[in-house]
Symmetry: C2
Subunit: 215 residues, 2 copies
Amino acid sequence: MTAARRETPRERYRTQLRAEIKEHAWEQIATAGAPGLSLNAIAKQMGMSGPALYRYFSSRDELITELIRDAYRDLADTVRAAAAGGADLAGLGRALRTWALTDPQRYFLIYGTPIPGYHAPDDVTQTASLIMECLLDAARSSGRDVADDDPVRAHLAAHRQWAGDHPADAATLHRALLFWSRLHGILSLELAGHFTGMGLDPAELFASELRALTR
Amino acid sequence: MTAARRETPRERYRTQLRAEIKEHAWEQIATAGAPGLSLNAIAKQMGMSGPALYRYFSSRDELITELIRDAYRDLADTVRAAAAGGADLAGLGRALRTWALTDPQRYFLIYGTPIPGYHAPDDVTQTASLIMECLLDAARSSGRDVADDDPVRAHLAAHRQWAGDHPADAATLHRALLFWSRLHGILSLELAGHFTGMGLDPAELFASELRALTR
DNA sequence: TGTACATCAGTGAACGCGCGTTCACTGATGTAC
DNA sequence: TGTACATCAGTGAACGCGCGTTCACTGATGTAC
């Protein structure tokens, strides 16, 4: 058992301030979107000078990458917590929607318009797979078999790296994938306000898609 | 018959230069995303001074709004052309995907991450309905009835402003809506590179969702 | 417990940049007589 | 056909701004003897 070395006060302060910076960053993203994020603005908000932040993040890009990392991690934790609490596919769907509604711009930071040329580092991709694997596990034991004779299943069976070492037959892969893409379809349109503009209730549409996948 | 007044050379030049500016704007958006769009950069690219553009667009915001307007119009035209050419729902789906792949950032300008606080002007919303009405028409005469006993149909039947005066029963409304949200789900994940990152072929997935809707 | 030194947080000035936008202007193009 | 005037495109200088980032520095906090 490796005794976790006692964190020095300085280290504690450091991690705490890093967290504080990120919180302000999220606030800023929530109100102006990711492109509007500015180190100087965050510093001002925290009552310190701009260059001070360079003690905690080596560049604006590093901060954004860290935020993306955190967003993925937080979503993965949310989904896994729901699964650990015994949620089936429908439960995961509801957890996902709640998470997305909590902070739409955080959702879009992950699943929204990509920044041309930006590539997420490896560990972020790994966390993303974590989420998919969690969906797979739920899709294996719950949900409904949709379009069981669709030819895409051959393709899915042949390309299953993303399933990691989680056991999954074609039906499970298919279900998890449809769960993801369909709910993302509804969610992203909801968060962008397209349904409200049409006079529709997003909650109803989401619930309906969820039913189609799990009933 | 109102004789279209002959366009003066100056007017012709004006409209042509406006178009030229927009083209450069699209190029810029394609390579750096919408937030990276800059009037000065466009001017430089065209070999003129920055302030010159203010003869053609009163502000950066007006230019962006105009681009959004054009994107919607172009998509509406594409979809309507396909419909006029006798395409069924599946055909419209393929047309939609082709359009999206032609210029992903243009697609995202419409359906991607919303800019907090930005609200599209009325006429843009109208063009958006045009698209939906076109989908409705196709959904009435083609496609497959999915989940015909889902309770969401009551909601759809009760909220049908977006259908305009196009005749549409609950099944048609439902089909058009699912067509839109499901294909958007696949498409936006594809354009953002999420499938490629997983080793999956987006074309297969798109075709499969299309089959589920129309077979 | 006290002293000497090293570590580190944060500051203020500065650099270079690009942005959107205004303004007074020059020079070319079109219009009226 | 020629002249006088109005319209309009485009320029260059300027304003004010905020950005990311570097750098030499002060002052406080922790460490070693």
